[in-house]
Amino acid sequence: MSTLSRMPVAAADRVKPRRLPGVDGVWVAIGADSVIFAILFLTFMQDRLKDLALFEMSRHTLNMNFGGIDTLILLTSSWSVALAIQALKRGLADRVPRYFLGGALTGLLFMMSKSIEYFQKFAEGLTPATNPFYMWYFTLTGIHLLHVVFGTSLLTYVWIKSRRGAYSSSNRVVPECVASYWHLVDLLWIVIFPLLYLMKVA
């Protein structure tokens, strides 16, 4: 009898309903943004085909250390935000603000790193008008940077709200939406970085 009475609980645990964090609309936006970036990557590859030597020569002027460190910054930022959501789910609301603050500060760090890189390029006289590679470099990293600025603003907002105790394990839709968007920003950079900085010619 005791075995029988335990079975439904165990079964219920296994069939825990599948769900998307946040609201469905955010996932539509994330999906649409992902498709737009995939099309941009495709167009970049087509343009690269037109002048391989120019793209390769220009790629060598980029500093891959910047790109690699930027990747580590965003991965760490995403991790911090994922920890915030885990803490919320487990009812550890007091830990949530510090993780969101970590996410926002690392977002700021990424902006600073990108600014330094842009200033270096401008100082060397390299602009979007220099050649098609640089047009792509500034377009892809620029659109991504706008995503970072927007995401960091959202993280700052949820950090402030979480300090005031606005979120809990049963009230976490807004932070989940922000977190999902922030992870998108991370994963887009995971592709942009090797595409621009690391892809050598055959």
């Binding site: 760490t76 995971i190 055959a202």
Partner: protein, 91 residues
């Protein structure tokens, strides 16, 4: 407080290691361009997959949504590598 690290922490550590392998390993001239580029983009696709499954929590998402999102790194990596190999035959 648990002494066992969160899964997201283990995933983050793995992603950091893979990033270092890509940036400061595969990109060097120790490898042929084909090996380097294939390795770099397969690792990028793997990293995207783990960000999706563990950071974005798509592991527990409805199956059609999970499949649609998991297709993204596969399609993007296949498209980039497809173009790269087409380009290498042109070059």
């Amino acid at each position: 407080m648990s002494v066992v690290p969160e899964r997201v922490t283990l995933v983050w550590l793995g992603l950091v290691v893979l990033t270092c392998v890509t940036t400061w390993g595969l990109s060097k001239d120790l490898f042929t361009p084909a090996v380097a580029v294939v390795g770099i983009f397969l690792i990028a696709a793997l990293k995207v997959r783990f960000v999706m499954l563990d950071f974005m929590e798509l592991r527990r998402a409805p199956i059609p949504v999970r499949v649609a999102f998991e297709a993204w790194p596969v399609v993007v990596a296949a498209m980039i590598l497809g173009f790269w190999f087409a380009t290498s035959t042109v070059a």
